[in-house]
Amino acid sequence: MFYREAGQFKASYQEDQQIFPIRQDRIGFWVAMAFLFLAVPMIANQYWLQAILTPVLIFSLAALGLNILTGYAGQLSLGSAAFMAVGAFGTYNFMLRIDGMPFLVALVLGGLCAAAVGILFGLPSLRIKGFYLAVATLAAQFFIVWVLVKFGWFSNYSTSGVITAQQVEIFGFAFDTPLLKYLLTLVIVCVFALFAKNMVRSATGRKWMAVRDMDVAAEVIGIRLMGTKLQAFAISSFYCGVAGALYAYMYLGTVEPEGFNLDLSFRILFMIIIGGVGSILGSFIGAAFIVLLPVFLNVVMHTSIGAFVPPNIAANLELIIFGGLIVFFLIVEPHGLARLWQLAKEKLRIWPFPH
């Protein structure tokens, strides 16, 4: 009854092309933004900012990167964590080796390194598709981690390749508290999410989706498959690389190559599957789901049955419920939580009537 576009007429194509064509959505978006930028800093404590909200944002960015590649361009990849590693180590080396390197520039350069590596490991996509491509991208996963461990230069010859992120300063202003790190991450993620949304709603995104949905037809109307696929790999890896650098600089502080293992790649893949393949919002929902749900379950366990069950059984129970919920949501909506949200909105438009 409250959510419908009745009476909202579009008088120009520009109005019709807005990201949120419905006024209620725009209001909802700005409320959410105000909450993240204003309310969260006031109410959240250090633990929440540092251990939950910042990683959710960083994983959202990585999931966004993978979603560009897998969800929009249709190329399956299991190398996301490796591209994150390239971004993290790239940014670290630019900061380390160039005096007075501004952090944001190093971040972008680190992302560009990841993009270059992404193009390289995207080359098999020109010949192979689907699961076979996923297996080919596994090569990136193992090879890059191996290179970073094997050649000490990348980690400035520290033991077992551990790097410690330098202090982040932007225009002489140090980002050293969890709150400031959260805000900086939030700004970066918002900007990149906007860029991603803009790309997928314009010709770039249409080319990706055309290649995903029907590559022969795409070719026949003049889309070059090679360029489009490699572009998707580059942009996706750039996003993952920036996420990796934020992972090191804004979240953990110290990272090692082994931290960017296949496990992390799978987590990011699960995020987009649960959140919604081919959806910007889905990347955020998926990341929040995968990061928050275990925390939530843990709290619930402790407050409810924690007193009666030994801690080791409670811990396993959490994992079982976590897995069960993932399966449940996939059965309820195989297209992810973002689709559920979309369906809810469609229902809401005609509520209280069924049709």
Binding site: S12, D213, A218, G222
Partner: protein, 260 residues
Amino acid sequence: MAREIGEVILDLQNISLRFGGVKALTDISFNVREHEIRAIIGPNGAGKSSMLNVINGVYHPQEGTIIFRGEKRREMEPHMAASQGIARTFQNIALFKGMTVLDNIMTGRNLMMKTNFLHHALFWGKAQREEIEHRKKVEEVIDFLEIQSIRKTPVGRLPYGLQKRVELARALAAEPSLLLLDEPMAGMNVEEKQDMCRFVLDVNDQFGTTIVLIEHDMGVVMDISDRVVVLDYGKKIGDGAPDEVKNDPKVIEAYLGTSH
């Protein structure tokens, strides 16, 4: 009719196409004149679709030459054909299922868009102007094919007949000079066929687009085409005006059949 059939724009000479030991096309020659509607008919497996695939570069013939607008070529990539103004539709609908009707048709204009992904990421100024400019053209196509009401619908949800129409819209959005239609009326009921015939004739008449079409409905073919080429087992067995072809004993034996 206002349009006048002009010079030969596409000349196929001695085309042969093999897949391993299978001869799909053997020594086929025919031409297409500007502004005409040229039909290709023949029984199943005669090589009609292969012929279209040769024309727009999906298949590369082993022998023969193709002269398109005075330019001689043996083979080309599909995107090159697209940039020369050849568009097509497919026998089995080849739309982008996950995208809306509008996005599908907008994709048809991709070759005319000059901005790159960096402009798109900002979606400001040049990119936005270009998007709106092309949207206007796309809306003209949408009006022309009378699909205004479904422009925001994902194509996967549309019925078959409308999907065929959207595919034609996507091809038209590229403003082609040569349009290849692979069975545009297959699986349609009488009304849908009539609509489609009207659209094909209107495209030909209003935009002067040259059309090569494959169709099994003989009534349609004989009514709307200017010249017909008949294939059987990868060989050309007839070529000429509909009336000539209809009465050609070889064509009757191979394809049209006689009443007993």
